[in-house]
């Protein structure tokens, strides 16, 4: 069973910035949800994900996995990373190995899996992300959509319960976007929690079952897409008024 990932009054300010990126954020990410995090650039979406993944450490407040606060010791982080996986924005900056196989196996090997187990984890993740036929290709020869799916597989090979994804679909064409969404659907069907920080409002509206709206480092709303998109005040935090007729 999986435990919830809870933020209790978490604040974070980047060095040299006068204003905090996140300010006293409290929320609970429950297992098995499809969550979209919305808000304009600088609202704190990426910071939220980096904190949840234990990459940044809250300067105030606490983040808990289940009932236990995250421990930032080496073994504590190791424990956290088995549960929470993070995929970042630009796939080009996440694929650091020469071949797809090598890249996906990076995480499992660091987990200390035996070569046989790591091999199984790689194949499983590759199948999940539709990249099984790319395993012996060099990473630089992939298309944008393929790179995005390989980056996803690299994180999924560690079998996290929570998958946090920053801007999964930006810069992709509609088909590549579709394939990524299919991977998220498969994960949701397995009971995993997927958290997407995104500008893709159509995705948030039709795919998510819970929307978190951030505004200037604070949580402005948590609710179903239907409720959030119907609320005029919240719509101001999601898109400029001129775009509203776009009906995402």
């Amino acid at each position: 069973m999986t435990a919830a990932l809870t933020f209790a009054a978490v604040s974070y300010r980047f060095t040299g910035n006068p204003t905090p990126a996140l300010h006293r954020v409290s929320l609970s990410i429950d297992p098995g949800r499809r969550i979209a995090v919305l808000g304009r650039n600088g609202a704190g979406k990426s910071t939220l994900l980096l904190l949840a993944a234990g990459i940044l450490r809250p300067q105030e407040g606490q983040i808990r996995l289940g009932d236990t606060p995250i421990s930032y010791s080496r073994s504590g982080l190791r424990h956290l990373r088995r549960h929470v996986g993070l995929v970042m924005q630009s796939p080009d900056e996440q694929l650091f190995s020469a071949s797809v196989w090598q890249d996906i196996s990076f995480g499992p090997l660091n987990l200390g899996l035996s070569p046989a187990e790591a091999r199984r984890a790689v194949h499983e993740a590759a199948a999940l992300c539709d990249v099984s036929d790319l395993l012996d290709r060099p990473t630089h020869a992939l298309s944008g959509g393929q790179k995005a799916r390989v980056a996803l597989a690299g994180v999924l090979a560690m079998r996290p319960q929570y998958l946090l994804v920053d801007e999964a679909t930006s810069g992709l064409d509609r088909w590549a976007r579709r394939q990524i969404v299919q991977v998220f659907d498969r994960l949701a069907a397995q009971g995993k929690t997927v958290v997407l920080a995104t500008h893709d409002l159509a995705l948030a509206r039709r795919w998510a079952d819970l929307v978190i709206v951030l505004d200037a480092g604070s949580v402005a709303a948590v609710g179903t897409p239907a409720r959030v998109f119907a609320d005029e005040t919240l719509r101001h935090l999601i898109a400029p008024a001129e775009d509203w007729h776009d009906d995402w």
Binding site: S97, A98, S99, P138, H140
Partner: protein, 231 residues
């Protein structure tokens, strides 16, 4: 006896701080060299800069668009020093990149690019200095790269690829620190033992952490070159 304890604790303190020292331990800071020595090292390094610059200009005259690549090569060398380099002793530092740079770009180009990087380190993060630029450029942009290049050229084919790369990078790192120690010893001879004692002194202060780091940088460079070969 009191003195003895004082010295032992002082020694321990030095070790502890040096284990956690910044990346640029081998940079001589602004103001650390007397004016004559600062001038002397500029005089030593200027011929290398002139020849290196002429080579560079010849390359660019041939292909004008290569200046973009050179800009990125210098930036790559700068950014390389932000990589983590674990030391055998458990702490971590950063690689110098002189060996890798010499293997990738050649020693003449490195004498210019490496000096630009040193100038940038002085002007962007106040590491090193302007009057000490000559001395720092001689150890890090000339001696280090040349040692790496000569080993790389001289031993290629005679030793396994990995061993050649390892020796080139590790010895480039070490030779840089030997030269820096020498530069410090010449500028500040020991009042009792003179230049030799001073050299031993600066040498041992650095050696304790530098040898493990040189080994680490050697291994890192082998891994990078292996990865580059498969790309």
């Amino acid at each position: 006896m009191k003195h003895r304890w004082l010295l032992i604790s002082l020694g321990a303190a030095i070790l502890i701080v040096f284990e956690a020292r910044p990346a640029y331990a081998m940079h001589i800071m602004e103001g650390f060299l007397p004016p004559l020595w600062a001038l002397f090292w500029f005089a030593v390094v200027i011929p290398f800069w002139i020849i290196g610059f002429r080579r560079l200009r010849a390359i660019v005259n041939d292909k004008p668009e290569l200046r973009l690549l050179l800009g990125f090569a210098a930036a790559f060398t700068f950014v390389l020093s932000a990589l983590k380099l674990p030391s055998v002793t458990g702490s971590s530092s950063h690689p110098t990149g002189t060996g890798l740079g010499a293997i990738l770009f050649g020693p003449w180009v490195m004498s210019v690019l490496g000096s630009i990087v040193l100038l940038f380190q002085a002007l962007l993060i106040a590491h090193g200095g302007l009057t000490t630029l000559g001395a720092n450029a001689f150890s890090m942009a000339v001696v280090g790269p040349w040692v790496a290049w000569l080993i790389w050229r001289g031993l290629s084919g005679r030793l396994p690829f990995w061993l050649t790369v390892f020796l080139a990078a590790a010895l480039a790192n070490l030779s840089t620190y030997v030269v820096t120690s020498l530069q410090l010893a010449l500028a500040h001879p020991d009042p009792v033992g003179g230049i030799v004692a001073s050299f031993i002194k600066f040498g041992t202060i650095f050696a304790i952490t530098q040898i493990p780091l040189a080994i680490s940088e050697g291994i890192l460079t082998v891994l990078i070159m292996n990865a580059l070969q498969t790309t």
